[in-house]
Amino acid sequence: MAPLVKRNHWVVRLTHWVNVIAVVLMAGSGMRIFNAHPAFARPGERFALNPWEGTPIPNWLTFGGWLAGARHWHFAVMWLLVLNGLVYLGFLFLHGEWRDLAPRRGDARDAWQMIRFYLFARRDHPRQGKHNALQKTAYFAMPVLGVVLVLSGIAIWKPVSLSFVTALFVNYKWARFVHFLAMALLLLLALVHVFMVVSVDPYSLRAIVTGWYDRARSPEARNARPFYHLFARPRDDAPAAREEHAA
């Protein structure tokens, strides 16, 4: 029986799942709000950066029922999202785990090697720490997008009383566009994340629920690509994964 390591602290696991609920509700209600005016142009103007200007989001993807209902959800759940995000970021900072996510020199090179591996241009899984370079980039980008979402959200919530926040994004129209774009990017990263969990490392689900992780089944140990070596036993010549801190 391979030894298990404690991979995720309970604060990380709790904030992860609270975040899932908060992001789903925020995105759903946000898209419902967007559908009241599914465009970025002011009346009588044009907006060249949105090829689907005027096209609403399909209703089944939205939440809140109608504009006012969605606004109530959006302005209630935003507090859950912000508080949860602060707990997570505060924990990362105090517990030193920001080191697992902070960009370093060499990340671009390592990310390129991961891409080559996934494209079969490289035989062996690159060596990695807790996360591979692509994962690390995604997990770093998500909280950054979260901060952009909160700031651009404040900018369109209070464009007069907090106009200095709106000015960070030029004006109301652009703040609204940035808010939407950041939401779309965050959802894209989340979808890729879920796809990779299912197709490359379903064993990590255990680590985000109970915290325990079996390093013998890590993608590095299995030399796993999406849907490749999903159930493989670790190879004898598999490079040993770097030590993780035990619980």
Binding site: I21, L67, W73, F75, A76, K158, V160, S163
Partner: protein
């Protein structure tokens, strides 16, 4: 059938997930008290954010929305004040005041005039720009002698029973006008003639058009859209 720990966890997760999905589809009634609580909390914050020094500034070079400016009313047709039926239009300023006023349009135009190019923020998400001319609501409050009981203001008009009540702080903001001019001309019926409320510090639905009454009150009394579920505060 025995249920081991792993199976128990799987089943629990599945039932919680299906419960959540079912709850989301119905937009549950049980969420209402929580949402109402959040709205009251947000309102406290929003009222704290109202500053008379926080002004909406539109760049001088920004184009006016002009003909594309959305027209909006709740009646089936454009409300038009017909003097032959209703007599001459007047604006009543009353309620918690020492000197109730009844102002004709001419009286209004003789009061200190403010002309400002500002944003109009619609709850739907768009914003439009126009140059509004009119009298500050704070000026009307001063002329009528609003008393200490004047904690809220109700703006009512002749577009059906349309009205929206405001907190006094927002009504007294220097950019909150009873406007009778738009882009250099008198208001047209499509934009709320003869006079309307206009302020960039509240969402469009709080800015009553086709205005007839400005009533100062000790308590708020909701509004046309506020009563249907939109936030009463509607602040920007």
């Amino acid at each position: 059938m025995t249920i081991d720990r792993r199976r128990f966890i799987t089943l629990s997760a599945a039932s919680i997930a299906s419960g959540l999905v079912a709850a989301c589809g119905k937009n549950p009634e049980s969420a209402k008290p929580v949402l109402a609580l959040a709205e009251r909390f947000n309102e406290t914050i929003e009222r704290g954010l109202v500053r008379h020094s926080a002004m909406n500034v539109v760049p001088a070079s920004a184009p006016l929305t002009g003909r594309a400016y959305p027209k909006y009313f709740v009646s089936a047709r454009v409300p038009v004040w017909d003097p032959a039926v209703r007599g001459a239009w007047t604006l009543e300023v009353g309620g918690a005041v020492r000197r109730p006023l009844t102002l004709s349009l001419e009286d209004l135009t003789k009061l200190p005039r403010v002309t400002q190019k500002v944003d109009h923020f619609c709850v739907e998400g768009w914003n439009a720009r126009a140059t509004w001319s009119g009298v500050r609501v704070s000026e009307l409050a001063r002329l009528a002698g609003a008393t200490a009981d004047a904690q809220y203001v109700d703006f009512a008009g002749f577009d059906k029973e349309y009205h929206e009540s405001w907190d006094m702080e927002s009504a007294m903001h220097p950019q909150t006008l009873v406007a009778y001019g738009m882009d250099g001309y008198l208001l047209t019926p499509a934009h709320g003639a003869p006079a309307r409320v206009h302020s960039p510090i509240k969402l469009g639905y709080k800015n009553t058009k086709y205005l007839t009454r400005v009533i100062f009150m000790p308590a708020r009394n909701g509004g046309y859209w506020s009563d249907q579920g939109y936030e009463w505060m509607g602040a920007t």
